[in-house]
Symmetry: C2
Subunit: 152 residues, 2 copies
């Protein structure tokens, strides 16, 4: 895994430490291994043949095994944890909006997850982030919106 | 894991095998073990201290370690795979809408995921399902909408 981040320019407005996340982004890069997919199947119980059965997958429209979409989402959560560790405020994942698995991710693909905090809702103490996941060819394979919140 | 499902009454309308899923539901029950959470952290890279650091978690508003929300979502995907195996049509996960992690899930909690297909969009060959996850006390801990699609 590689991690990078950048800081925003000057921030104005809220004194909430969460506000400092707005404009910050982080990238996490991961190679999706067979071990990851089999491990994810075991942990979640999702043994759909697209993911674990090479013979089945060879006859599917994809032609070979594909990663679980939710595994990719786990990488996004990892990115959010890395980024939120930069501030002195505990946060937890409130949820996701509009996750779309746009293209298949195959065993051996290397994906880059870009997580960028775009909004801060002061009253609810939550941030909203745009998640974009690309494969090694630069193709967008998944998008999502992620919400972080200060625990109450 | 325990799995149950029920069949709907008569179905009218589309000849698409996906249509047969509408009204069907399945329940999957899982105890969230420490091994699950540590395994999930390792697979995804999400080592946020809420999930893996008991000392940190003891001082957090939750008082002890909590499960990754996306791990729960993995159980929902597993439920969708179980249910969609009932029909003679390959489907894949298109994504999720409005996932909310409502209450914390702790190590040792037993959650029940209820997955019910509520809608079918014929033109796009996709189904929509309501996901509700409850803990052993019957409290709703997470909700989501899940989309399945016939691969093109």
């Amino acid at each position: 895994m590689s991690v990078s981040s950048r800081e925003p320019g000057s921030s104005v407005g809220s004194d909430d430490p969460l506000y400092a996340l707005v404009g910050r982004s982080i990238e996490v890069q991961r190679t999706v291994t067979e071990r990851d997919i089999l491990g994810f199947a075991e942990l979640t119980g999702d043994f759909a043949p697209h993911h674990v059965d090479e013979e089945f997958a060879a006859r599917s429209p994809y032609g070979r095994r594909i990663a679980h979409g939710v595994l990719l989402l786990g990488y996004a959560s990892a990115a959010s944890s890395e980024l939120s560790a930069q501030i002195d405020q505990q946060v937890v994942s409130l949820g996701y909006d509009r996750i779309r698995f746009i293209k298949p991710v195959f065993l051996g693909d290397t994906v880059t997850v870009r997580y960028e905090v775009t909004d801060f809702e002061a009253a609810k103490r939550r941030t909203s982030a745009r998640v974009e996941i690309k494969n090694q060819d630069g193709q967008l394979v998944a998008v999502a919106t992620h919400l972080l919140q200060a625990p109450s």
